[in-house]
Every structure is written in C-alpha cells, then in structure tokens.
C-alpha cells in the first residue's frame, strides 16, 4: 500500500520508496523508513495532500505520495 491510498486521519509507517530521486528529497524532509506518517488533509481540489511527519506538516502531490510504500 502507498501513502497516496491513505485517507485523511489514517496513519502509516514508511517502508520503502519506488523512486530513487524522489526518495532522496523525501528523506531529507524527514520521510524515512520506519517513520510514522499521518495524512492530515487533502487540498480542496483533492491534490496535493498534507501529511504530518517528524513533528511538522509537509505537503506533497499525490504522485509523490504514491512513491512511498507503507508497511
């Protein structure tokens, strides 16, 4: 299951990434394997989404979220 499939309010734990380039950027921002992420909300038009990770809010597009595989 990927992060983009989570509904707002649901929690997942990052397992791995499908895109190496994106993974480097996401990891820098604190999205690391083993880290819990919570989907906070979707933008009014459904994309991007906002997640809580490492103690702060991060927004990313659904496509980017779909490269994050959850445990």
């Amino acid at each position: 299951m990927t992060l983009s499939e989570l509904e707002p309010g649901e929690i997942g734990i990052v397992k791995e990434f499908t895109d190496l380039e994106m993974s480097v950027k996401l990891m820098e921002m604190g999205c690391l394997p083993g880290e819990p992420v919570t989907v906070s909300r979707r933008a009014p038009l459904g994309d991007p989404i906002s997640i809580k990770v490492s103690g702060y809010q991060l927004s990313l597009r659904k496509f980017e979220a779909s490269t994050i595989i959850l445990q």
């Binding site: 994106m22 820098e28 009014p44 103690g55 597009r61």
Partner: protein
Amino acid sequence: MKADIRVALVGNPNTGKSTLFNALTGLNQKIGNFPGVTVDKKTGYSALPDGRTAEIIDLPGTYSLYPKSQDESIVFSVLADRSNTHTPDLVIVIIDATNLKRNLLLYTQVADLKIPVIVALNMIDLSKKAGIDINIDLFAKKLGVPVVPISARKVEGIDKLKQAITFANKIPLQESSIDVKAIAPQLIAQISQELKLDNPYFALQLAHQHETVKFLTAKESDRIEELEHEFSFHSQKSQATETIARYNFINDLLYDTVKVPDTAQDETLSNKIDKVLTHKIFGFVIFLAILLFMFQSIFAWSAYPMEKIGDLFAWAQNTLHQLLPAGPLTGLLVDGVLGGLSGVMVFIPQIAILFAFISILEDTGYMARVTFMMDKLMRKVGLNGKSVVPLIGGFACAVPSIMSTRTIESWKDRMITIMVTPLVTCSARLPIYTLLIALVVPNRNVWWIFNLPGLALTGMYVFSLISAIVVAFAFKLILKGRERGYFIMELPVYRTPRWSNVAFSMYDRSKAFVLQAGKVIIAVSVILWVLASYGPGDRFAEIDQKYKQPQYAKQLSPDELTRAINSEKLENSYAGSLGHVIEPAIRPLGFDWKIGIALITSFAAREVFVGTMATIYSVDGNADKIESVQNKMASAKNPKTGKPVFSLAVAFSLMMFYAFAMQCASTVAVVYRETKNWRWPAIQFAYMTVLAYVASLLAYNLLK
C-alpha cells in the same frame, strides 16, 4: 567597512533566519551579488561586545547541502570553497527548537565540513510552551559546539549569541556525526589525495556536485567524473545512505537530550486554523476575500501618497526651471532625468503596500496554504501554486510581482510566471483604457445595471487574465525544464506577523525597485527626451523663424503660439521623424504618425501615452486633464478622409496594443534583475510585441 570576523548564517526555511539576520545587523546591511553567480547576497555588520565588528552573510534557506535550486547551491560553495573570498570563519546554524529532527540534518552536514559552528536554537520560547524539554548542556556536549537558545522574534538571547561569536574558536571542535568515509571509502580517499583535501565530507560533496560548483577547474571536474566511474559511485544511492545515517545519529542524539510530551502530538491550533482556511469551499471564499481586500487597498491607500509624490516632483521641476538658466542642460536634467524619475517614484506607494501584504501573508504562513490550494489548478497551465500571488499582484504593478516570484523554487515554473505576469492589466493601463473607452463606447445601460463602458473595461481585465493563462500554457510546451517538477513543501505553523519584518520588507523592496529599475528608466527617459527635443538639420531653427513672422505673432496669443511651436517641433523632432518612419508599419493597425510617436515615447512607460497625446494634440492646461485630451482626440479628423481619427476600430486596436506590448522599462529592468540574463527580457519583449501587433491587426480589421 572592514570586518574582523566573517560569520555565515545557515538554516532551513521558516526558522527565523531573516529575523535573526535583521536582529544582528539592523539597518546596516546591503544586497549584492555573489561574484560570478546570479544569486542575491545579503551582508551586514554587527558590533561585537569586545568592540570588534563581525560581517554577517545571510545565505539562502536550505534543507540540506544538496541543492535543489540555484539559490541553494550557493550555500555549499560559500561554506566549502576555501579559495572563495566569502569563506566564513564561523557558521551560525539556526535551528527551530520546535522542529529539531529535520533541522538537525543540515547541522550535521555543515559540521562535517569542519568549519567552526555555533548553534542558535531559535524559537526556544515556543518550544518551552509546547512542553519540549531540551537538555541544552548535554546537547552542546554531544555536538561539541556552543548552543545558544534564542528567540529572534522577541530579540532574546541575541547578546549571548554575540558573546558566543566573540569567544568562538578558530579551530572546529565539533564531533563527527557520521562515518563519512564509510559511504564511499576508495573514492573519497582518491579524491582527497589527488586534490589535496583534508576533509572527507568535502571530498564526498565534490563527488556529488563537481558538475555544478564553480571553483573546480574543468580538468579537476573531469578527473572526479573518471574516478566515479572507476569506483562505480551512484550519487543518489550515496545520498540516500548518507541521509539515513544522519537521521540515525539525530534520533540517538534526540533520544538522549530531548523529551517531547505526548500532548505535542495532539491537534494543534495550526491544524484547527487549517481546517477552516483550506476548507473545500470556505478556503476559496476566504482567499478571494483577502485578494479583493488587498487589491482594493493597493488602489485606495496608494492614491494619496502617489498624488503627493507627483506633486512634489512637479514642484521640484517648476522650481528648478525657475532657478536654473534655460538651456539644453537644464532641460535634460529637469525634464529628462527628473521627469523620468517621477515616473518611477510614483509607484513606490503601490510597491510598498503590495509588499507589506505579501510579507504579512508569507510571515503568517498563509501563503504556503494558498500554494497548497491552488497547485492543482495552476499546474494544468504550466504554472505552480506559488504563481497565484504574482499574477494577482500584476493587477497593481508587474514590477513588485516579478520580484515576488522568488518564492517559486522550480526554475521552469518561475520563468513562466515571470514571462506572463506583465500581461495582467496593471494600473498604468487604466488611464489609457478609460480614455479610449470614453472616446468610442457610448455610455448606455444594458441589462438594467451594467453600462457599456464598464463592461468594456471589465472585458479588458478578464481578457488579460485569459491571455496570461493561454501564454503560460504555450510556454509550458516550449520551455524545457532543467529539473524534474516536484512539489514537496513545508506547511509552516501559523504565526503572527513580525511587524518590524513587514516594515523592513517594504523598505527593502522599494529601495531595490528604485535603485534597479530607476537606472534603466532614467536612461530611457533621457534618450526619449533627446529624441523629442531635437530634430535633424536646422528644422527647429526654421520653425522658430517661421513663427517669428508677424502673421503668427499677431494672430495667436502667446500661449497658443508656444503650443503651435511645440507641436510643430515635436512633428519635426527625431521622435516625430521616427513616428513618420514607422507609419507604414503601423498603418495596417489603423494608426497614424501621431499615434506612432505616442507608441515610441510610451515604450518607457505606458502612462506616457496620455501625456504624449496631450502634447501632440496641443491641449490646454496640463496633460493629466483627461477631459481636455479626450475632447481634442474626439474632434481629431483624418486630413484625407475627413473621418474621426479615433474610430471604434482604432480605439480597440490601440487598447489591444497596450494590452500586449511590453511598454514598461521598469518591467524590462526587473526581469533582467531577477533572471540576470538579457535573454529573458528580450524574449518577453519580442513575444509581447508580436502578440500586440497581431491582436491590434485583428481588432482593427474586424471592427473596421
């Protein structure tokens, strides 16, 4: 000024870096460019407790030393390149105490470069309030660097930070965070040996960034490339390994030194505000309301100061004309330079107000939410969520709006935004539209409440937005993005705006505007003044001679005489001759040589159009009286056909021309300033002029 110690300020975005920079340096700062690179360099001076002076360099906010934009790539270059004239003696890494984990990543990278570091633990008041318990002594001991808790916003701890700078060691004492050599042992060893480097992390960074850094020779860069192949080095895999190792170090560190209460995980105030401000329906309603308020305020609040600035310049010009002896030099100084300057200065109120709003919206964190809400919509036409603000600001003035595109990280998105922003109907077009619409559109009500002139004006505004979107879409297909588009953005916690920062931003941006755009507009107005004040050969002398003859001197009043002379001189000036020269080119658009002069003179600024029309049709009183210009233009007849010059077709053709043509030297200047490359303003000028010509041609031929 000569500084005793050079200090670089490094940190993540939204950590209060600018606030700390302002607190350390006050108004004692300047903006320049890094030598050879097109990134703004902010430096300032700070007096230390022991009487020495520290030069503070504010580096662009970044999440890591691996750059994602040109702005960010400067951080590594300044820190690591020992031959650079800006190499700091000391680095202050500013860390948001409420968001330690992610902020520490950059610290560990900087520390591994082995430059002496001080950690400024900012927002310590907020983190205490949130119940985060940081054992600062243990924290400092584990890192091996001084850690100073501060609140830049409340100006607390700044003295202690200056103390720390005073006592800073010239030799780095920080502990290594990760085993850098383990990431690529052979490669690091080989690069270190060949380039004689003593720092393994610097060697590793060179392996990643050798293609983009400026301080390596081509030979060195090629050699590193060779070595990478030899040891099968993969940049992104290595970065991933490094990042994971760094976060392991950070997790261990935080486990020992920081206690975060469980309640911190609860729904925060920011989250509650977000539920309303990014709501499916209310989100857009609130956004539109804020925009409407901003738009209204820019017009309403700037009218009075703009008028005063205009008056001040008119007074200065009059006074100088009386004080100085009449002659070409006085004319050039007073009418050319001062006249051109007044054209720039009157926009200061609009720029200051627009930037006050933008800085408040950014400071509170709302701008990030606008970006979040609009991204999907804007992406469809090749823009970005962050393009919304410049486009809206374009209704006031393209100049500050283009300056505000710096918040857009993606190069391609930013370029497209810069390219289309001048299409949005700015305030300088308003007098032209109102004048021409009043000339040709009958003042008649339709559907009870709407009147035709109002609808025509609204139409021009809507038309400008549509054309901006269409052109953006075209650029999306043409421009090749250097980087892959992505949108990974922090949504900062909502905070009250820092009023001192708002005031500072108003001052700073207005100053930048006056200095940068001012230079160009003065140059252009001087050229235009010369073109309009001199004619080829001795034509001017002949005109003077002609009007000295008794039949003119007797029949005309002195005022009428001056006007007749001026208008004939204008026709025979270089500008007038140019008008005649370009007449064949603009005749298909329905324009004659007189309109041609106005097109030429209003290249510097659109608002010159009305003034030129006033001069050409030699109207009574001053050029600002649109009434009189309007009457004169309405009665202007084509000498050949006897029909009015300003027909419906000509008026709309002119409006189309002014809607598209890049007739604004300030915008040209600011686009150059922001892109640091003449290619972009040239492309913009060319495409807008072509569009203007085609749109005019279509309008004229459809309405003829």
